[in-house]
Amino acid sequence: MNPSEPQLSYPHDTGSNAEDAALIRRMCDADETALGALYDRWMRSLYSLVMHLLKDADEAEDVVEETFWQAWRKASAYEPSRGAVSTWLLTIGRRKALDRIRAKRRRKEEPFGQDRPFADLRSAEPDPSENAEGFELRRHVLAALKELPAEQREVLELGYFSGLSQTEIADATGQPLGTVKTRMRLGMQKLREPLSMHRQGPE
């Protein structure tokens, strides 16, 4: 019902994060209009993420609502030193989505380690709705993903999309737990490098 859809913004976008942080401060002061504004800014990104994880529109909408409500109730728990508001928000949302996936798996409704590969992610083609900086970051991370050895990518995919624990990944792949831990750590380190470079680059 809100006719103006917000532009996507990215965690490293400090200007955008300053605006988000201001909204969080207003939420701490019980200003509900700030919650509405934060929703307008991040609903689309959050919905896209949880929808991609859950593959169910009703559940994704529930998670979006639960996430923003938690953000409202726990606004004072946001710590700027631990990352951007969007990081905080999307982390809450992803955690809630993974909780649902894990609950389904416990009820045997979800296949063990359902296939949701990184190959499903967006191509590096620029999206007119995003800023140039966002496109650059996406391009770098996608390139890093492509460079990952298959076994590291597999471990990250099972953790990222299915929320499998390292032990569960070890069971699913038939690899020793130590090997899984090492692959996960190395894969994440390789992925975070372009992000770090990207953050330092424009300065």
Binding site: M1, A30, G83, T87, L195
Partner: protein, 321 residues
């Protein structure tokens, strides 16, 4: 909490960032990272990477009506919560008082310094006073004194044992009482939270439909004698509240969608399904020019809603000026 050294915490950073470790491991790693100059920034960077991966998923658009409905519910709940707190806030309960009254420590346990011991014809002496101030001489006393002392010792022993049993029972009873009251207190707090939220929601709804500037549109169809629902538009707060009374369920795989009709647009106000009793309540917040509304309509549409009405009209109502 698990005690974790630097190497152990560092090896778990990726898994913690991906949120695929047990809570206790995550807590231990985060506790270490909070004070570790190496792990802290590394964890932050990895968490940002996880979020960046989330940004790479294909962009998906939530149904606008449902998105607006969620937004409206969130803002209304937040407003209701704020108003409830500002109106009835008495501050957090004084837990220390609660605990003191629950345990009854103040009147059940007497400090050692105030305890007394009754000896010798009712005269009170504190334990610090010597009980054997008078030397006893077996030679000068007859056997009755020994007998008396033995009886007194036995009585003291029995009394002490009884006292010990009573205090132990009393303590156990208090522990059970505290546990019971703690449980009851948690249940009560939980129920109180739910009821507070419910009351706040009802208050917000009453405010939305009873303001001085509320336009009401009766929703009906040709076969109904009475309105099947009403739409309340609070033109001051831009809150829309729709109530239906006797609406049959949509067909399987279909949903009802509400439309605000103006001269040049049909604006989706969200989708809903009535309960088994035909009742439904829906909220939305949307700014519309005061005289722009021409009608409100409900159509039956595919699950998830559609950008423009396609299905049969179920009920509608004309907005009179």
């Amino acid at each position: 909490m698990i005690d974790m050294n630097h190497e152990e915490a560092f090896s778990e950073l990726a898994a913690v960032a991906l949120d695929v470790v047990p809570t206790e491991v995550g807590d231990a790693v985060r506790a270490h990272a909070a004070v570790c100059p190496e792990c802290g920034p590394e964890l932050t960077a990895m968490e940002a990477t996880v979020v960046a991966l989330g940004e790479l998923v294909p962009s998906q658009q939530m149904n606008r009506g449902r998105g607006a409905g969620i937004r409206s519910r969130l803002v209304m709940r937040a407003r209701a919560e704020r108003e409830t707190h500002s109106a009835g806030s008495e501050g957090p309960p004084d837990l220390s008082r609660g605990v003191a009254s629950l345990t009854g420590l103040g009147h059940r346990i007497t400090p050692v310094s105030q305890r007394t011991l009754v000896v010798e014809g009712g005269k009170q002496k504190t334990p610090s006073q010597p009980l054997a101030a008078r030397p006893l001489s077996y030679e000068s006393k007859d056997r009755s004194l020994v007998k008396w002392l033995a009886m007194a010792a036995t009585l003291a022993l029995v009394a002490t044992a009884a006292q010990l049993m009573r205090v132990t029972a009393d303590r156990n009873s208090m522990r059970a009482d505290i546990a019971l009251r703690d449980t009851a207190s948690l249940d009560t707090a939980s129920r109180n939270d739910s009821l507070t939220a419910l009351v706040a929601e009802r208050d917000a709804m009453i405010a939305a439909i009873s303001g001085s500037d509320v336009k009401v549109v009766a929703l009906t169809n040709e076969s109904a004698r009475q309105p099947l629902g009403r739409m309340f538009w609070n033109r001051t707060s831009n809150d829309w509240t729709m109530v239906t009374y006797d609406l049959r369920s949509p067909r399987p795989g279909r949903t009802y969608q509400v439309w605000l009709i103006t001269d040049d647009a049909k604006i989706s106000a969200g989708t809903f399904k009535p309960g088994a009793d035909g009742k439904a309540v829906m909220h939305a917040n949307y700014a519309l020019a005061r005289n722009a509304l021409r009608a409100v309509a409900i159509t039956e549409e595919p699950e998830g809603g559609v950008p423009a009405p396609t299905g049969p009209m179920v009920v509608s109502g004309t907005a009179t000026s």
